[in-house]
């Protein structure tokens, strides 16, 4: 359960700091946890109608420099957007990743990019 794992370099706790859509970055606030083949995230995106939040969970696998998210639970709402809750999500996102020091960059199939920074036990 340590933050350094040769076979699973993404395992651990990460702070979500930036989401880039079509080259336009947005600061986001939250965490992404990956441990024992399971992932979960909770993050907030600021907006004029208040923050929009997303809590998601599922399983994952790492193959070389590709991180595949298997989605199952999605809970999203706020910021004037409609509520969305499901335990039956089944889509998979195979994402090229890059790790440089304590920074994890995830390229989603949509073309969007998530930048995270590793969180350490305090």
């Amino acid at each position: 359960m340590t933050s350094t794992n040769a076979t699973d370099p993404v395992q651990g706790a990460w702070r979500t700091v930036r989401y880039v859509v079509k080259g336009s970055p947005t600061d986001i606030e939250g965490v992404l946890l990956l441990v024992d083949g399971r992932w979960s995230t909770l993050y907030f995106v600021p907006g004029a109608d208040g923050p929009w939040g997303s809590g998601e969970a599922g399983s994952y696998e790492v193959d070389g420099r590709t991180l595949s998210f298997h989605h199952r639970l999605m809970f999203q709402g706020g910021g004037g957007r409609p509520l969305h809750i499901t335990q039956e999500a089944s889509h998979v996102e195979a994402c090229p990743i890059a790790i440089a020091g304590d920074t994890l960059t995830i390229q989603f199939p949509s073309g969007n990019t998530l930048v995270c920074e590793r969180l350490r036990r305090s």
Binding site: M1, Q11, G12, L34, D36, S40, L42, G53, G55, R121
Partner: protein, 136 residues
């Protein structure tokens, strides 16, 4: 007991206790699946996921009540002390009984936990009990 032997006794006791406290925190590390949720804050059959990694946690679950599905998600850091599990919640959102709440809401929530094999039980101060099974 001389002062020296008393000092040695205290040191030995401290050395014996310290790894146990650390072991408790590490014992939670990993992935857990919510299998039951009972108590005042529960709203129907609950399923979800609790992760502990590197001193941080993420808890996301849904509850099915009378054909309606509610959700809660919390995340932050955590610590253990004996049988106490303290969630330092940094982010929280919920949609329960038609009331949405989406905002960072820093707070500390002190609970008691028990580990028995692959079962983790977390009891909140309001009497609510969450039960989890370890995911492998």
């Amino acid at each position: 007991m001389t002062r020296a032997s008393r000092f040695c006794f205290v040191v030995l006791i401290t050395m014996a206790i310290a790894p146990t406290a650390r072991l408790s925190a590490d014992a939670l590390a990993g992935a857990w699946r919510m299998v039951n949720y009972q108590g005042a804050a529960s709203h129907g059959a609950a399923t979800g996921q609790l992760l502990f990694a590197d001193g941080h946690f993420s808890l996301t679950y849904t509850m099915d009540e009378n054909g309606q599905r509610w959700g809660r998600a919390h995340a932050g850091s955590y610590e253990t002390n004996g049988d106490r599990l303290i969630y330092h919640v940094e982010w929280s959102m919920e949609y329960v009984a038609g009331k949405p709440s989406v905002a960072p809401k820093p707070s500390d929530r002190e609970t008691k936990f028990a580990l028995s094999g692959d079962t983790l039980t977390v009891t909140f101060s309001n009497g609510s009990v969450q039960t989890f099974k370890r995911e492998r």
